[in-house]
Structure formats: structure tokens, C-alpha cells
């Protein structure tokens, strides 16, 4: 693939990228597209700023809101008073450097400001200058830098906008920090501050606008959604001869399925959706999707806005109440699952109107895995024998959620499912999986074309690990359980010499292997198709014959 920047080289030797030396300003830039005031307004952010004439003007004082400096500092003060994480993390970093080699964006780009501590320091230095005794004192005598403090200037704002959009909030740094400092918390706060001075990110804000208006990130209206689901039902019927339904807005269903809207159209996401449908059908569960809450992802988390994240979450509560369901189940989506598992009860609870015999919410894997273990699904593993699988732990699921009863279930359940439906499975190197997993490079609001360079570079650690298992262990496919991972990988793997169809959904593998009750064999499907074809031809011939007779009759009449 052609790119106007260097795509990192991968070797596949041990699956681990050597830590690069610093290349200051390697990723300096203007950052992603800025959001227009109209989108900011929908999100309840200030709109008294001027759209920059060109990207070169991003962050110039004239483009920001009035009194941007005071308002940025006010917002910082507000946030540190409402988030213990921010207040504590800004204070207690000792700059030990344990995190410096842990970020995939630093490893892939060599830009020192992509080291977690340096990324945090972009905000921390301003906090130190304006909110701590040491920073104020040394600031007054003109030496703020002595204590790691700095004035808030246009250049600082530009750095914030650029480098806080090179963080996917994957939390890998927080695993290794001796105090658990989580750069995601800092970058969320920074984006919230930027949103309040006229530097919102177009990608996140526009997408949330669509969701608030229509119900999903894609802007897919109810009629189109119904149409899509009908098409998928037909696909499953053609393939299996079984009438598997994908119900929409079916009142009185037991289960409301919330899934990322990418599942409705993107590859390989949609194959996963058909997988959930088959599993739920086979288990005899009564379920439905909702057109009002047709989105699992919650971009409110990316921009650090509790209020907007809650607004999105409340749609799910409302849909569950309106449809009268008893359970809420989430499909394959990493950030969706973090927000669902960790935050939904906080944001949109209490869910006392749902069946308390089930966790609220549940992950689809928490249904499929026990069903497979109990032998409730009829599986033909040989259907996946053309593949050797590996599994990519999605960052937000790995480090920000759980599945099942035990800590670490989020690593066990998906692997159990893959192994139950595939004969060939190999893990990537230990330092790149489980809670040490590397982000795909597209998480946290980065999955946009205007950030392609950092997406490609940030994927390097995962690509190196993947290259290792493809070269040394004949792996052919990588499964994922996150819409962003799937979209990011299908786009980025070609830069590293892989083909995009090597990325699969976990429930796609289930879908391949599951044998539904009443499912036709391949021969029966062939026979059915042949019979249909014969019928079609016969009908066509009859029509032609009738037409010919009619024509003959007409010519005779004239």
C-alpha cells in the first residue's frame, strides 16, 4: 500500500518490537478535523468560536472561544474537583518512566510525546503551573520548568489537540504504572477541556450527533435497518434452509440485543451478527434489536463527557422499558462493553425492572460460552478447518471490563468459544495478549481517515505479534470481539502485507460451525437450489411460450 510516510517494518522473529530511540516531533501536526459549532451545540459545548480557515490555523487564539485560557483553566479546575482519578493522577506521578515503552503509539512512531508520562505531562505541566504551590512559586520567579510546570499557551493547546488524539485510551500504561495512573483518564479530561474552548473533534462529535438524532453512529434510520435485517434473514435462510429471525422492535421480547451499528453492514462484523442470531435462535431465546437504541458504542467515553455518555446510555434504558424486555445483552464491541459492563449501571441504572437472575448487562459470549460448554449447540468444527486462528484481546474489554464470574473471564470466554468451534488455535506472544494486549491502533475516537498515519504506526506492535504467529505457527486468521478492532484491522493489515479477510468475528466462527436444528446439508441445499432453478426455468419457459403464443395470435389478428 502506498503511503506518504514510512510504514514500520515487521520481522516476525519473536513477535515483539524493539523499543525505538526518541525522534522528537515525529508526529507533530495539526491533529484531526475540528468540529463545527453546530455539532458542538448539540453536545452542549460552547459555540462562540470561529472555524479555522485552514488546518494550519488549528489552535490559533483567534479561532478559539473568547477568554479561552481562563475557560480552559476553569474546566480543568471543575474536572479535578469531580474526578478523583484526575486529581490524584496529576499529583502523584514520580516520572519513573515505567510506562515510557508501553504505548503502541510511541513504539510505532518514536515521538516522545506519545510516551504515556509525556502525554500526561502536556496537561500536568499546566496543572502544576496554575494549581500547585510549587508551580505558582517557580512560575512567578520565571522558572516554571524547574518543577515541570509551564504556561498555558497556544502551542500547548495545539499539542493537546494533536497528542491527545494520538491516544486510544487503551489503558495499557495503567497496567504497568506502580500507582495505576491511567493516561486514558487524562486524555479524556483533555478532550473535555478542548471541547470547551472550541476544539472538539469532528469525528466523535458528528457521530454522536447522528446517534442522538437517529439512534446509531451510522445514521441508519429504522426503515433501512429493518431492510438490512430482512436481507440477513434471507441470507441465513439461503445458506441453511432455516428461518432464523433478526427481530426489530419486537415488544415483549425477553432479550434486548445492543450491538455496534457496524454489525449491520461492515465486514466481518455482519457475519458476527448472523452468528448471534443463530445462537439465540438455536437456544430458543426470544430476542429483539431496537431501532431507538441501535448502537452499542458510546463515543461519550472517548471525549470524557459523563453527561453525553449518560445521555447515550439512557437510550438503552428507555428502549428496554418501552419494549418490556427482561434482559439486556451486548454484542461484540470493545468500548461498548466497557461502558456497558463498568458504567451502564451507574449511568442508566438501577435496572430493577429487569430479571435479576441474569447480570445486567450480559455479553453475548456469556450466553454462547456456557451453551457450548453444556453441549446445547450442535457444532461441526471441521467447518473452520481451513483456518488456523489467533485471538486479539481488545483493549477496553481486557483492561476495563470482565466476562463471567471470575476476574480474567474476559480472556477465557472468547478463547473457549473459539476452541469449541475451531480445531486450530494459537495464542500470540504472552507480552501482547491478555491484560498486556496492544490496542489495534484505532480505538478511543481515532478510527477516522484523517488520523490514518498514527493508526498505521500504532498497529505495529500487534502486527509484529501477528507476523510472528503467521510465520512460525501457520496462523491464517485473527479473531476479534470489537467493532473498532475489526474495522481498524481490515483497513490497516494490508499496509503490513496481510489480507483484510484474515480478520474475523468470533461469532462468525460460531456461525460457520453451528448446525441448526432442521439445517439442510450442502447436498440438500444444492438440491433445493437446483429444484428452485428448475422451477424458475420452467416458469420462464412457460412465460416465453405464453408470450410467443400471444404474439402469434396478435400477428394473426392483424
Amino acid at each position: 500500500m502506498a503511503a506518504d510516510y514510512d510504514v514500520p517494518k515487521i520481522t516476525g522473529e519473536d513477535g515483539i518490537v524493539d523499543i525505538p530511540s526518541l525522534q522528537p516531533d515525529a508526529m507533530k501536526g495539526h491533529g484531526p478535523w475540528v468540529s463545527k459549532p453546530e455539532f458542538q451545540e448539540d453536545m452542549h459545548f460552547p459555540t462562540d468560536f470561529t472555524m479555522p480557515e485552514s488546518i494550519e490555523n488549528y489552535g490559533d487564539a483567534g479561532t478559539l472561544v473568547e477568554n479561552w485560557k481562563e475557560r480552559a483553566l476553569d474546566k480543568m479546575g471543575d474536572l479535578k474537583g469531580r474526578y478523583r482519578s484526575l486529581q490524584v493522577f496529576l499529583d502523584i506521578c514520580v516520572k519513573c518512566g515505567a510506562c515510557t515503552d508501553k504505548c503502541h503509539y510511541y513504539i510505532g512512531s518514536s515521538d516522545p510525546k506519545n510516551m504515556p508520562v509525556a502525554r500526561q505531562d502536556l496537561l500536568r505541566k499546566v496543572y502544576r503551573r496554575y494549581f500547585t504551590f510549587a508551580g505558582k512559586f517557580f512560575g512567578k520567579i520565571g522558572m516554571p520548568g524547574f518543577v515541570g510546570a509551564a504556561e498555558l499557551t497556544e502551542d500547548v493547546v495545539k499539542d493537546w489537540y494533536n497528542y491527545y488524539h494520538q491516544c486510544s485510551q487503551c489503558r495499557r500504561c495503567s497496567v504497568f504504572c506502580p500507582y495505576g495512573i491511567d493516561t486514558a483518564e487524562i486524555s479524556m479530561a483533555a478532550r473535555e477541556i478542548l471541547d470547551h474552548i472550541g476544539m472538539g473533534q469532528k469525528y466523535c462529535t458528528e457521530i454522536m450527533g447522528k446517534l442522538n438524532k437517529i439512534g446509531n453512529n451510522l445514521g441508519l434510520p429504522e426503515a433501512a435497518l429493518a431492510d438490512t435485517l430482512e436481507g440477513l434473514e434471507e441470507d441465513i435462510f439461503d445458506e441453511t434452509g432455516v428461518d432464523v429471525k433478526l427481530p426489530l422492535d419486537k415488544k415483549g421480547s425477553d432479550i434486548l440485543l445492543i450491538t455496534p451499528s457496524a454489525d449491520f453492514f461492515a465486514e466481518p462484523h455482519v457475519d458476527g451478527l448472523m452468528g448471534y442470531a443463530k445462537v439465540l435462535h438455536e437456544l430458543g431465546l426470544d430476542w429483539t434489536l431496537s431501532s431507538y437504541a441501535s448502537e452499542g458504542a458510546n463515543f461519550g467515553m472517548f471525549i470524557g463527557s459523563y453527561e453525553n455518555m449518560r445521555k447515550v446510555s439512557l437510550r438503552i434504558r428507555k428502549a428496554a422499558q418501552d419494549l418490556g424486555v427482561k434482559r439486556i445483552v451486548f454484542g461484540e464491541c470493545g468500548h461498548a462493553w466497557r461502558v456497558a459492563y463498568s458504567f451502564l449501571n451507574t449511568l442508566a441504572g438501577p435496572f430493577d425492572f429487569l430479571d435479576q437472575n441474569y447480570p445486567v448487562p450480559q455479553h453475548i459470549l456469556e450466553i454462547t460460552e456456557p451453551a457450548l460448554a453444556a453441549g446445547k449447540l450442535n457444532i461441526d468444527k471441521s467447518q473452520n478447518d481451513d483456518k488456523v486462528l489467533t485471538f486479539h484481546d481488545s483493549c477496553n474489554i481486557a483492561r476495563g471490563s470482565r466476562m463471567g464470574d471470575k476476574p480474567g473471564g474476559q480472556f477465557v470466554l472468547p478463547r473457549n468459544v473459539i476452541k469449541a468451534v475451531c480445531n486450530n488455535y494459537v495464542d500470540m506472544p504472552a507480552d501482547t495478549i491478555h491484560d498486556a494486549t496492544y490496542c489495534c491502533g484505532g480505538g478511543g475516537g481515532i478510527l477516522t481517515d484523517d488520523l490514518m498515519e498514527i493508526r498505521v504506526k500504532g498497529a505495529q506492535p500487534r502486527m509484529e505479534a501477528l507476523k510472528h504467529v503467521t510465520d512460525k505457527h501457520q496462523v491464517t486468521h485473527m479473531a476479534a470481539i470489537c467493532a473498532i478492532c475489526k474495522s481498524q484491522f481490515t483497513k490497516v493489515v494490508p499496509y503490513y502485507g496481510f489480507t483484510m479477510d484474515m480478520i474475523v468475528s468470533v461469532h462468525q466462527l460460531v456461525s460457520n460451525a453451528i448446525v441448526l436444528k432442521g439445517q439442510l446439508t450442502e447436498e440438500e441445499i444444492e438440491a433445493r437450489d437446483a429444484a428452485e432453478e428448475a422451477e424458475r426455468i420452467a416458469a420462464k419457459e412457460a412465460r416465453e411460450k405464453a408470450a410467443a403464443e400471444k404474439a402469434a395470435k396478435e400477428s394473426k389478428d392483424t
Partner: protein, 251 residues
Amino acid sequence: MVVGVIYAVLFWTATLVLVLGVANKIRIYAKTPAPLKIPTTPAPVTQSGVFLRMFQEVFFFKSLFRADKLLWVLGMLFHYTMLIIVLRHFRYVQEPVWGVIQFVQPFGIYAGFLFIIGLLGLMARRIFIDRIRYITAPSDIAMLLLLILIGVSGLMMQFVSPTDILMVKAFFRGLITFDWQPLPSDVVLLVHLGLVAALMLIFPISKLLHAPGIFFSPTRNQIDNPREKRHIAPWAAELEKQGKTYLDELD
């Protein structure tokens, strides 16, 4: 006697700043709500599990061990020798001296050397590893120098120019009862004590806050039970109560 008075005032001030400053920070950390459940998972699902996790972090630097073995060795060396040294110094204020304090006395000398070695190692990282050099502020170097000089001046009193320990002890016991006592006017002692007072003074306004701060780190101290138990901050509950979406809409 003048020296004694100056140092008495210095130590009373430093103690006051240290205690009140840290108490104030702890108050701020405690009263700031954590609105969301953000433990870095896999995380314990019970309170006792969190206690164990925190214990491993505080006493064994478990996460750091995963991150960087060299830094872990240097960090453990520095912190544990410092602990022994601090314990050893209790004999300058206690009467009678506790058994455990008497027990650590002989180890204190060795600890002094290892303390300096650990600190020199930490300093070397800041100078020679490009990533660590990049994130180092002058104050980070200054703090290491401060600790190294405290260690060197302490060891000098042991091996080069001993001071009148009994007089020092009388001085510190006098501080407890607000009874002015003279201090030996040995330069090394005065440097040693001055630097320790400086360390106490900067503690509540610097990264040394990591010591109390780690106990308030939500990624480490939260229980992983968001589905079982609803967690909500007061300011978020207010939105719910008033039926509002945005904080600026609150009455």
C-alpha cells in the same frame, strides 16, 4: 544556642507543613468523588481482594515488577533501605528505645550505603536512558540529589566526623516538649538536618505525594463489581434527581 533555636523553629515548621500539607491533600483526595468504576482489570471482586492487591503494590511494587525489572530492583533497594534508616533514627527521639529499633541499628549502616547506591542507579537512569532523560525535570534531579546528600552527610557522621549524639538526642526530645535545647554546631550535622527539613517541607507540594496518593488510585483501589452494586457520585446523582442531562442545567 542560636543554632539550636534556628533548627528548632525549622523542624517545628517542617513538621507542621508536612503533617498539615499531607492531611490537606488526603482530605482533597478523599472528598473528590470517583464517578465511575475504573479498576484496571482483571481486578479483585471483593474488598479483601482489593486489600491484597493494594498490599502487593505498596510493599512489593507488583505492577512495577511487570514493567521494568531494573527500576524495580533500584526502587525496592531505595525504599526499603530508607525504611530501615528511618526506623534506625527513632533512637534519637525515643526513651526508652524499642526492641525493634535496637534490632535494626547494625543494619542501618549497611542500609545507608545501599540507599546511596540505589539513588545513584535512579540518577543514572535519568541521565543515560533517553526516554527517562526526556521526562525528567530539574526538580526530579534535585530531589535525588537531596536524598543522596542526606545519605552522604549521614554516613559522614558515622565514619568521618562524628557528632555528639547525646546532645542531638536531647535536642530532638526537647522539640517534643517545646523545651529549647542546644544542638552541636558541626557543619555536617547541620547540613544533614537542614536537608531533611527541606525534604519534609517539599513533601506535600511535590511528587512525593505518591506515598499517600497510591491509596486513592481508583484503578487500584476499586472493587470490580459494577453490575452487582450500583456506584454513583453525588454530582451525578443530582442530575438524576432533577431529571437533567447537563450539569449546567441543574438548579
